[in-house]
Every structure is written in C-alpha cells, then in structure tokens.
Assembly symmetry: C2
C-alpha cells in the first residue's frame, strides 16, 4: 500500500470514522482503522461490532493494498502534521510509514484479514432528509432515551414513518419526547428502533447543513448514508410503546408561558432541589397554578426556594409535584418563545406543546405524588 | 443584616472570593463566605487556612450585621438570578433570604463568630506591578513548580527582588523556569517563596489589565492587594535553590530555532514517546545536532518517530536525551518567534534563552542519559 493524500481531507475522514472505534475491548483489531485502496480512492473502516462506519475519499494511490493501524495513534499523528500532502505507505517490515516534510513516523500494523466484516444490509425501506433536520430531531429527543438496560427497547429512539411523516420518539418511563417532520417524497411506512448510542455518534458525524442523508432499514439493521460516509448499526428488537395512545388528548388546566423565564426558574429551583439529602429526594418540586400566576417551590435542609411568574392561565387551579430535571431537559431544546403547559389531575401527566397547532413537538412528563 | 446590591457587582465579588473556599474539609464553616457590612460597603471573606481572600464592594446597607453562608449554594443562586438589584437579608429564623423579582430563596447560615480570622500581616517589604505583568510572570514559571511534597520549598515560586528587578523562579529537580521584570520604583531587596497553589488562584483573580497590584511580604505571610480585593497567603519556609549559580554560563553547541516549528516537532514526537511501556520509559527522546540540522527521534513498541529541522547551528555536533514534556512546557509559554537552545555535554543541562540579550527569561532542562 502506498498513497498520497491531503492532510485536511484524510483528517476529516479519520474524524468521521473514529466514532466507531472500540475503546475498551479485548480485541485490539477493533481499536484499529482498516485502510483499503481502490483505484483513485481509499476507504477507511471502523467497526466496534455495534456501529460500523465507512468513509471513502480521493487519494493518489501509487500501490494498492490494505492494512489496519491503531486509530488513536494514527489520528493524533495526522492531526498534528502540517497542512500539506502526506505520504502513507507500508514498508518492508510491514510498518505504516507516515511521511511529510521533515517528519517520519512508523506505526505497527495489524492484519487486515482479521478485521471483522461490516454486516451487509438489504434495505427494505428508506427515506431521505436534510442532515440539519435529522440533527435537530435527534437533539430534541435523545435526552429522554432510557439508560436502564432492563427494558432494552427503550434505550433506543423509535423512527416511525407513517403517512409521509417521520416521527422520532424516545421514552424512559418518566417522560416522553416526540418530534415530527413531514417528508417531501412519498415513502412507505416503517418502524425501527435505533440504539441511542448510535444516534449520539451519528449526530456528531452529520453536519448542520442542507446536505441530504439517507436512512435505510432492513429487518435487523439501519444504514445512514451520506456523500463519502456510511454508518451501519443494528436495530433494537421488541415492541416500542404505542406513544400516541398514552398522550392525554384534553386538559383541565393550561398555561401559556415564556419559555426562557420558565427555564430560568427551574434552573434556580434545581440548585436547591438537587442538594436534597437521600431521604428528602422523595419530596419533589411543587408547581402551583393560580389564576394568572404560577408558583414553583421546593424546601429541604439546604434551604427554601420559591419562584413566582405571572402567566396566562386557563381552567382549574392545581398543585402538582415534579422532578425539575425533566422540565429542564425539554425546555433546553425548545426554541419557541412561548409554550403551552397542559395539566390534568395531580397524578396525570403534564404535556408541553407549541402554541401553534402546526407545531412539531410534544413532550410528556409524569408527576411525582406530593406528600400531604 | 439587610442589604441591596446589583447582581453583577456581587457576582464579581463572589467569583473572586470563592477561590479560597475549602473544598474537602471537616469544618463546614470553611466552605462558607463570611458576609459583613460596614456603612455603605459589604465585605466578603473566605479562608481555607492557607489562602484568605477579602473583597469589599459598595452596597446599600439597610441594617448592619454579619453571617456565613455556604459559598457554592450562594454563588450558584446569585449567578442564575436576572441581572437586576438583589435584596439580601437575615430573617427571624436566621435564614439568609435572597429576593429578586419573582424569586425568593432562603439559605441556612452559620455563626459568623466561628469563622477563623485571617492572619494579620505586618508588611516589611512591598512592590507594585501591573496585574498583566504578574499574570504573565506566573504563567511562565508555574509549570516548573514541584508537586513532590518531600521538598516542600520547591512546591512554591521564589519571588526575589534584587537591584530593582523582580525574579520569579520555579524548579522541580528536572528543570528550572526563571522570569525577570525590571521594576519602575526603587524598592528594597527581599526573597519570599509563595506556594504554587496560591499563585494558581491569584492568577485566576487578577486581570489581564494595567491595573496595579501590590505584593507585600512579612516574615511568614504574603499579601496581594488590588482595588477592592486582598489575598493573604502563608510563605514556604526554607532555603530556595541559588538558581543563578546552577545555570551554565557558556555553551559548546548553540542552535537558533523557530519556536513554533520546534514545538510542533516535540508535540508529534510526544505522541509516540508518551505511548511507551513502563519498561521503555527510560528510553528518552533523542536530540541530535549536526551542522545546519537537528533531528529529534524516538523509538518504542508503538512505532518510530523522526523529525528533522534545518536550523542555524554553532559549535560541536552532539547527541543528547530528553523528556519531551519539559521542552513542551516551556515552548508553550514562550512568545518569541525564534529562540536559542544552548547545550554543553550530553550530561549537562540545556538552556533555552531569547535571541535578544535583553530578553527576560531563562529555562533550564536536565538531560536523560542515553543508552549506548
């Protein structure tokens, strides 16, 4: 193998593929990047047996070949080289030589035949969206993915296409996040649950741009395909929550609130509520709705906190308990200036919705029972 | 106690004093800020029994008094309040009430009489420099302070005034950093060794501005005095190294090198040298000087690294071993475009100096013996 490539181009390629390099593994080959040549291109591949990434880039291929090199060491050296052409080749001792101006590095390599093959995917359904759209949908739902391994299906996000609309939904037993996006092209319906970990990495690789990304699914796998770069991941198996059916369709109390002010209140209240002792943890933050006013309050051994906001209210007065973290998580990703907060009884879920009927998100938070 | 103050002003005061709040302590009072009133001012004090900080700020004092409140909780709440006037008072239950628009917080307090008094300092000698000058001097020497507690005197920086020049020197047994600064006013000579930990905190508090700071010393204490803010610290006891006498006055080999290129070479070489196994650690990075050229090289089980640079050389050819970290630490803080590197034999120290004779820094690095 013997190639010449530009530093910035190969660094971009490496930065994309390193996301699927295994970190704690007993198989050193999984800590490597597989480098393969093909006419005027090179292909970099990483695979931690859960996510696999392939990146194809142009390069001057002087001699065909392939090798596997430790990803961290390779990427760090490339990153620190000057921004010029880099000469990369295997020498007679099977070391990977990286040469560039006065710098000469030789790295140990591994046998490319031992690198595990990425699963082949027979795509059954696929959609195409802009990368910034997908980035936004992941960001606005990923925080509600469960981290509990006892119900593995909820450690992923549901990607459901139905009636030309992509719904991304996550749920962890305490709250639910649902983001909608109308699709431009007519596509067939499908459902797939993609691991949260994969989506976090996908989100780092995709750009905040209007460039397209194709999302394809087979029975057990999903594929994210961009120009140059492919990401393969397994799907989670099992039945996801029928999310639409658990969201209350009516409310007893509704408030219209300035999103930023509401968020600031919860951030301050959290300072006190987060300092609660183990025993006090069961006492939640209390939200009280009165005519034209809400009060958020919390008391524990550190101190007392009370926040009042004058807001538009409709319906009944109510007192209800919450974990403020769940409010903060969704308020942080909402960009609207004003939002609706809808409440039922003191033991029914709270819904956060856009003011506009055409709005494209719904958050649901379960209450905590207040001590009498 | 009952005061009204602007949020930004008190936040600035808190940010300055929190640096001396004890973090891991069995005395909760040391985790607090002592708040005292005085006519039209309030004074905030923190003291971890090593560093003490006092900050005086204007405020509307409606009722005199004093209290101690947990520093972290107090600062976090103030930080998150809107940027308006804040009303702070002790209520009938001795809770500290923080009130601002719709927000009302009550924090537990501690008895101000239990707060330890800051040591009184009878200043024997003092100098005045601009804050950015001191900041720069600390930044350029602090990295060579020893972290080994077996020779406590070297865990501090020497501040030596002699012949109207301030010398700040640190040394850890492997390298030495020395920064000089001519003083404008005539002042008496003195020597004081200030704990490195104190200087790190002082450096966070002082500004990158031309505002003055007074440095005063007594037998056992030092005082840093700025407008509004005083920092008190103990001095380290013992005899510091006679630094000027250990620096070689002549060289056998001298190279003139581009600082940034030299630093880049060491940064790349470090990637390989830092990956050495425990056993290989004894093999240092090798620096070879030939006529008009230097080579830096390193070999271990991860790979081989070699860097060549064409530079101006004078004197003998030489091969010498080093820990590249010591080069990087000083190269990172040097701002000159070019520097001199002076060498003696392969077992004598290496000196890094400015090209200008009037330059104001000297770094010394001890070599590591090369294996034959």
């Amino acid at each position: 193998m013997n190639i010449i490539c530009e530093k910035e181009k190969i660094l971009k390629a490496i930065n994309s593929v390193v996301k699927a390099v295994a970190s704690k593994t007993t198989m050193p080959i999984l800590e490597g990047i597989l480098i393969q040549t093909n006419d005027k291109e090179i292909k970099l591949t990483t695979y931690d047996l859960e996510i696999g990434i392939e990146y194809i880039m142009e390069a001057e291929v002087k001699e065909e070949g392939s090798t596997v090199v430790n990803a961290i060491m390779f990427s760090e050296i490339i990153r620190k080289l000057p921004d010029v052409e880099i000469h990369i080749y295997l020498n007679e001792n099977n070391l990977l030589v990286i040469e560039c101006e006065g710098s000469l590095y030789k790295l140990a390599t591994m046998n490319p035949d031992e690198f595990p093959e990425l699963p082949r995917i027979d795509i059954e359904s696929a959609i195409e969206v802009e990368q910034n759209t997908l980035k936004n949908m992941i960001r606005k739902t990923i925080f509600a993915v469960s981290t509990e391994e006892n119900r593995p299906i909820f450690t992923g996000c549901l990607f459901e296409v139905s009636s030309n609309c992509l719904n991304v939904v996550s749920v962890d037993g305490f709250r639910l996040a649902w983001k909608k996006q109308l699709l431009n092209d007519k596509v067939g319906d499908f459902k797939a649950v993609i691991p949260g970990k994969t989506l976090i990495e996908v989100n780092k690789i995709i750009l905040d741009s209007f460039d397209k990304i194709k999302i394809g699914v087979s029975k057990n796998q999903a594929l994210f395909e961009m120009e140059n770069c492919k990401i393969v991941t397994r799907l989670l198996e099992g039945e996801f929550l029928n999310y639409a059916s658990v969201i209350p369709s009516s409310w007893e109390t509704r408030i219209k609130v300035n999103k930023n002010q509401f968020q600031d209140c919860f951030e301050r209240i959290s300072l006190i509520s987060a300092s609660a002792t183990e025993k006090e943890k069961r006492y939640p933050v209390k939200l009280m709705v009165d005519i034209g006013k809400i009060t958020i309050a919390c008391t524990n051994q550190t101190g007392d906190a009370k926040e009042e906001m004058y807001v538009e209210t409709e319906g009944k007065n109510i007192e209800i308990g919450f974990n403020p973290k769940y409010f903060l998580d969704c308020l942080k990703v909402i960009e609207d200036e004003e939002i609706y907060v809808e409440l039922g009884t003191s033991i029914s879920p709270c819904i956060i919705r856009p003011i506009e009927k055409t709005g494209d998100y719904t958050y649901m938070i379960l209450p905590i029972k207040l001590k009498d």
